[in-house]
Symmetry: C2
Subunit: 333 residues, 2 copies
DNA sequence: TTGTATGCGTTATCAA
DNA sequence: TTGATAACGCATACAA
């Protein structure tokens, strides 16, 4: 079924059929009804590729994310997809993994599908090494690139993110004031968000005028129990920490399991703070205190930015929002 | 940059350019090199919409899922996306929510984008009321429809699923043999998978020749702590259960928190079995025993089925796999 | 108000 | 080995 079939059945030209489809007012009620009836009868739908060809868009957004089985990223994708759909856009999902080369080739793939914009979901897309971000800047020459929780300063790249550094700095300062001065900062990987959290941690010690040992900073990736075991060893061999500030809630849960294994009383003897306010933090007892990075706001802002950009409106290149501290059972403040 | 620009620069016709692009052997090495050089130089990419128009496909699969922030579904999507991409297909993601009307309209939307196949991720897409599945059958008239973890018997609908009923039946039988004869079956919603799990639970009691009270079956949706509170009330007011078989791990964690709140010793005094082998089950102490429904296998089978169908090969309409019991700390067997 | 003709960027058929 | 041209399905400027 195409526009010619409909036009024949209705005894009109394809131009008229096209007008009816696009709600032109320059069609008589009579013919409009006739054409509409036949469309309904035949279940006609205009060919999306043909429309794409003429309009040079199929109203799709490319969503790049490292790993959509990661709960934080999956939640972001959920918000983004809903938001874009509400604006009439479909989302092409692309799970890139964490390797740069893969991300570069997948970004090209997505661009070749002629998406209207590219969304980088999660801070892992911004590399520390400047040249490694060139592929993002190249992409931004073709379509707007927006980043959720990462920041890259470039003309057609728009970023919405949470002030992780400030949040971590604040809670670390609180811990110090509570007397926890041997805090371990536990994070998963080098990423825009990772460095900023670390910077916040360091800043708290600087502000307090306290010496910070590099043993207090630990980068580790592994599943919950692997990390717990690693912590048990680290505690014995390297550093006797009295609290943990974690880069995400899963690391926080690992610290929680570590503390339980050691028989430490939480939160008086041992305090823990997670990050992301995710479901895993509420599975343990006592539940994990955490920082909520207002993902829903960040995502809806991202969607709105893309829409505004596509409508030719001016949009701030950087939007920053502060995190919210969620007090639960693993801290006293 | 389009094929005409390239052809002009190379001093050849568009037909030759097209041949070069598609690796035809009927092009002299000399002109091939010339065209290739200019393509590289200009960064030319063929227009995806135009190709879509001629081939009537853009190599995309529509992924429908109720809620991709649900960890189980997100994991499935992760596997599916990787699998389809490895086969040269992109995925359009569509989070439908749980309402039938929304799902119906979104399925139409996805079809109007001319995807090559539709994947229903999760068992919630199959409705108990037969007419409510008609929209799926209608869709299957246009493109192959495949279901992950749900079953619908119809010519162009292909299903891969885990034998939830058998799995639940087996563990329930084990519980009965261990002396836990007041098990509460806790599930979240009516769905294909939900009924089958329930059926398995009932079967275990039938097999054991035991009376099953309808107080032993409880449907509830809510977050982890809401469900825990609900269980505390239910225990006081309605039914003194000694174990829980849960439809998913989060419900299992709720039961876990309930048991802790009551001071029951796990697993001797109170046993719990979750479902899905998800991350939340490993956050609590003792960790949750659970059933792994072999999601990775189910997803890779789904991808392979779609590929085979699109290649015109014959594919079984139903593939069933048994679950794996994961013993952790909330059971004795 | 309606119809004709052209363009969108490819691929593929047929001649040369 | 190459080139001209029709076809894919739709939108639209222009003509009627």
């Amino acid at each position: 079924m195409n526009i010619y079939d409909i036009s024949k059945k209705a005894g009109v030209s394809i131009a008229t059929v096209s007008r009816v489809m696009n709600g032109s007012d320059k069609v008589s009620e009579k013919t409009r009804k006739k054409v509409l009836d036949i469309m309904k009868e035949t279940g006609y739908t205009p060919n999306a590729f043909a429309r794409g060809l003429t309009f040079n868009t199929m109203s799709t957004i490319g969503l790049l994310c490292a790993d959509c089985s990661d709960h934080f990223l999956a939640t972001a994708i959920s918000y983004l997809e809903k938001g874009f759909r509400a604006n009439g856009y479909d989302c092409i999902l692309c799970c890139t993994g964490y390797e740069l080369a893969t991300r570069q080739s997948y970004l090209k793939l997505i661009l070749s599908k002629k998406v209207d914009a590219v969304v980088l979901v999660g801070s892992t897309f911004i590399e520390e090494n400047i040249e490694d971000n060139q592929y993002l800047i190249d992409a931004s020459l073709e379509v707007p690139v927006v980043s959720v929780n990462g920041y890259l300063d470039s003309p057609n790249i728009y970023c919405t993110l949470c002030d992780d550094a400030e949040a971590i700095c604040n809670v670390t300062t609180q811990l110090i004031q509570e007397g926890f001065q041997k805090t371990l900062f536990l994070y998963r990987s080098a990423s825009y968000s990772g460095w900023h959290k670390l910077a916040g941690f360091k800043k708290a010690y600087r502000n307090a005028g306290l010496e910070l040992s590099n043993k207090q900073i630990l980068c580790h990736h592994g599943d919950i129990n692997e990390t717990k075991e690693m912590l048990l060893q680290y505690y014995e061999k390297d550093f006797k920490f009295d609290s943990v500030v974690a880069g995400d809630d899963e690391l926080g849960v690992s610290a929680h399991k570590f503390a339980k294994a050691k028989g430490f009383h939480i939160p008086d003897e041992f305090s823990i703070i997670g990050y992301n306010n995710s479901k895993v933090g509420v599975c343990c007892e006592p539940e994990l205190s955490t920082l909520d990075n207002r993902l829903e706001f960040v995502c809806s802002n991202t969607v709105q930015s893309v829409m505004n950009i596509l409508n030719g409106q001016s949009v701030p290149r950087k939007t920053m929002v502060s995190a919210e501290y969620i007090k639960r059972g693993t801290t006293n403040f």
